[in-house]
């Protein structure tokens, strides 16, 4: 991206890079806010898991990947999808269950996927993404490709068996796998520390002799630097790497969850450390004007407003499509 001149000063490449990632964070936040609002209005169904407060990790990790690199997401997948390049309008249509949704209306929020950008799917079963990603990395190796596979897991998933099996597996088979632990401190509505022994995700991963980098996950530039290094190591044949990113979920486990299980004051205090405002302050220090920052906010809001408007106009899938894509041999036939 060429440096742009603003208010008479030349912005550095690094400033432009971070400003670009900042805009993606704004898009994710606007998407997640709209997704919840549409759930309240009855246009989105089921439940919505938002990434508000955690955007920097998805954006910085995916920002260091190629389009043909692969990522495996978890239940909180909107941020991962947008960061990897999925179209927010197609995603919003999916949340609405409409024609033109990324999954044709078959998956919804928790199964959002866009294989065209290497986003192999959000997933409702925690830690399962670990073994799926390990397998995808094994396929990459078998095919002789130089792709990197990334998998996003939460701190809650580190108490499931597949987490350990897959770390061991990735190390034993020297797979091109980046494990990103988005540690927001809560396993659904339970404080992870109250149900977890030992020294946490980084210590656990390190016990497999997998290199670990721990980072403040709300510091976009710090995650960007760490992800760049780890992905380069993997691309150069360094085997699996582990990124432990501390963050905080500024909304509930699901969007309607009021977070009553959190200690008084925690929520308010954590808002002061959220990634968007921190990045904004840094951008201002680098000479990005208040007008440019305000324009970025407006652009994200406008883009998502358009996504919502288009989703509202899209039709529902024909009922006969419920019978499609079960299986080639022995699939159900539509009665009409």
């Amino acid at each position: 991206m060429p440096p742009a001149a603003t208010a008479g000063t030349e912005r550095s490449n690094q400033t432009e890079r971070i400003f670009g990632m900042f805009k993606t964070m704004l898009l994710i936040r606007a998407f997640d806010e709209a997704a919840h609002q549409m759930l309240v209005e009855g246009l989105v169904h089921g439940s919505v898991h938002q990434s508000i407060g955690q955007e920097a990790i998805a954006v910085a990790v995916c920002g260091n990947m190629r389009r043909d690199d692969l990522i495996q997401s978890n239940h909180r997948g909107h941020a991962h999808a947008i960061a990897k390049g999925a179209n927010p309008t197609a995603m919003m249509k999916e949340l609405f269950g409409r024609v033109g949704g990324t999954n044709g209306g078959k998956g919804g929020s928790m199964h959002i996927a866009d294989f065209s950008v290497g986003m192999l799917g959000a997933n409702g079963i925690l830690a399962d993404g670990m073994s799926l990603a390990a397998g995808a990395a094994q396929a990459v190796t078998l095919k002789g490709e130089d792709k990197v596979v990334g998998v996003f897991v939460g701190d809650g998933s580190t108490n499931r068996g597949p987490f350990y099996e897959s770390l061991n597996w990735a190390k034993v088979f020297h797979l091109p796998l980046l494990v990103v632990c988005e540690d927001n401190g809560y396993a659904s509505t339970t404080a992870t520390s109250s149900v977890t022994s030992g020294g946490g995700p980084a210590v656990r991963a390190a016990s497999f002799d997998i290199p670990v980098v721990s980072v403040d996950g709300n510091d976009l530039r710090a995650v960007d630097a760490a992800a760049a290094e780890l992905i380069e190591r993997i691309r150069n044949g360094g085997g699996p790497q582990f990124l432990h990113a501390a963050t905080y979920r500024l909304t509930g486990h699901v969007s309607k969850d009021q977070g009553m299980y959190r200690p008084a004051g925690e929520f308010e205090q954590r808002w002061d450390h959220e990634p968007v405002r921190r990045c904004e302050a840094w951008l201002a220090e680098q000479g990005v004007s208040p007008g440019d920052i305000e324009a970025a906010h407006s652009a994200a809001q406008a883009a998502i407003a358009t996504s919502v408007a288009e989703a509202k106009l899209a039709p529902f899938p024909a009922p006969s499509l419920a019978y499609a894509d079960v299986q080639d041999v022995g699939g159900p036939s539509c009665p009409k």
Binding site: L70, Q72, G101, T102, N103, G104, G105, K106, G107, H111, A113, D114, F115, S116, L120, G121, N123, G124, I125, D128, M130, S131, L132, A133, A134, G135, A136, A137, Q138, A139, V140, T141, L142, K143, G161, P162, E165, S166, N168, W169, V172, F173, A324, D325, V326, Q327, D328, V329, G330, P332
Partner: protein
């Protein structure tokens, strides 16, 4: 056609598919070494030909054997995830049911899962409660899965080849007491047995016996004994439980007007019930007598031989039930 044992036939089928397509590979515990300590030689010598990246000796991590198989299938390869035995596959059911069976559908057709999940079923003398189970009916209940239960060496080979070439996940179930069974097997590497097509194992006119896996062997043995008593039984080997060949079964029952479905698994909730109910609904008016099922008592598989015999359905029980139906 050459004669070979079942385990060798399925190994030959796998080797042929691996030679045909470099993206076919297998992962599981002890794949390169099992034959040195047990009679499970379905992978013998394959690592020498295909190397450790395509015959992958896995740690004892069933969840990840299945999960990595699913992920690798989604990412464009054709893995055979071998769980060795359905009892061990219990540790990987989540990855099979929640992931493999759902991915194509819930992602709106963006992905396919060309995975073969291989897990042996069946009682083997003295193997007791945790190494003898037959849960083929569970997988029939899962949309997205194909369920294969070959009974002969030829079908073991031909159906494994079809399973590997299938773009959807296939649960491939060998019976442990069939691994040593002999039979003629085609040497043609393009000889495939289609998924969902039954085989008439014995032609008859008085009674239809529908069976699968090792029960086909017992049903054929029973049919020969029934013949000496003047009862001409037709034996249908379903080969595939999902999809199952309803046309073949219906055609046979229209002819014989009697149906007996013996299974090795526990009777309650078994696949024999599905066959019996489907036929009763469709052809109730042509049946001369009630559909009958045979299946194990609802007990874990016991260890001591006389106790294990209480669990097993025998050819003698098939004969006795068939005779009572043809009186």
């Amino acid at each position: 056609m050459p004669e070979m044992i079942y385990a060798d036939a399925v190994r030959e089928g796998l080797a042929e598919e691996m030679r045909r397509d470099k993206l076919v590979w297998a992962l599981g515990e002890d794949l390169s070494t099992a034959h040195t300590s047990t009679s499970a030689n379905q992978y013998k010598d394959l690592i020498e030909e295909f190397g450790p990246r395509r015959i992958v000796n896995a740690p004892i991590s069933e969840s990840t054997i299945m999960g990595a198989g699913v992920g690798a299938a989604v990412a464009g390869t054709r893995p055979i995830a071998d769980l060795r035995s359905i009892d061990f596959a219990m540790c990987a059911i989540d990855e099979l049911v929640n992931q493999a069976a759902k991915i194509r559908y819930m992602f709106g057709g963006q992905a396919r899962v060309p995975l073969v999940a291989r897990m042996a079923i069946g009682t083997r003398r003295g193997a007791a409660a945790q190494h003898s189970q037959s849960y083929e009916s569970w997988f029939v209940h899962i949309p997205g899965l194909i369920v294969v239960t070959p009974s002969t060496p030829a079908d073991g080979k031909g159906l494994l080849k079809s399973a590997i070439r299938c773009d959807d996940p296939v649960v491939f179930m060998e019976h442990k007491e069939l691994w040593g069974a002999k039979g003629e097997v085609s040497a043609d590497p393009e000889h495939l047995v289609p998924l969902g097509k039954a085989r008439i194992a014995r032609v008859g006119k008085d009674l239809t016996i529908v069976a699968w896996s090792r029960m086909v062997v017992l049903a054929c043995k029973a049919a020969e004994e029934l013949a000496t008593a003047g009862i001409d039984a037709e034996v249908i080997d379903l080969r595939t439980l999902w999809p199952w060949d309803q046309e073949a079964v219906f055609a046979s029952v229209r002819k014989t007007r009697r149906l007996l479905v013996p299974q090795e698994a526990v009777l309650a909730g078994g696949f024999a019930g599905e066959v019996a109910a489907t036929v009763a609904e469709a052809l109730g008016d042509v049946l001369k007598t009630s559909v009958r099922r045979l299946g194990a008592p609802r007990m874990p598989v016991p260890y001591a031989p006389p106790l294990e015999d209480e669990y097993r359905i025998t050819d003698r029980q098939i004969v006795a039930t068939a005779r009572s139906m043809c009186r």
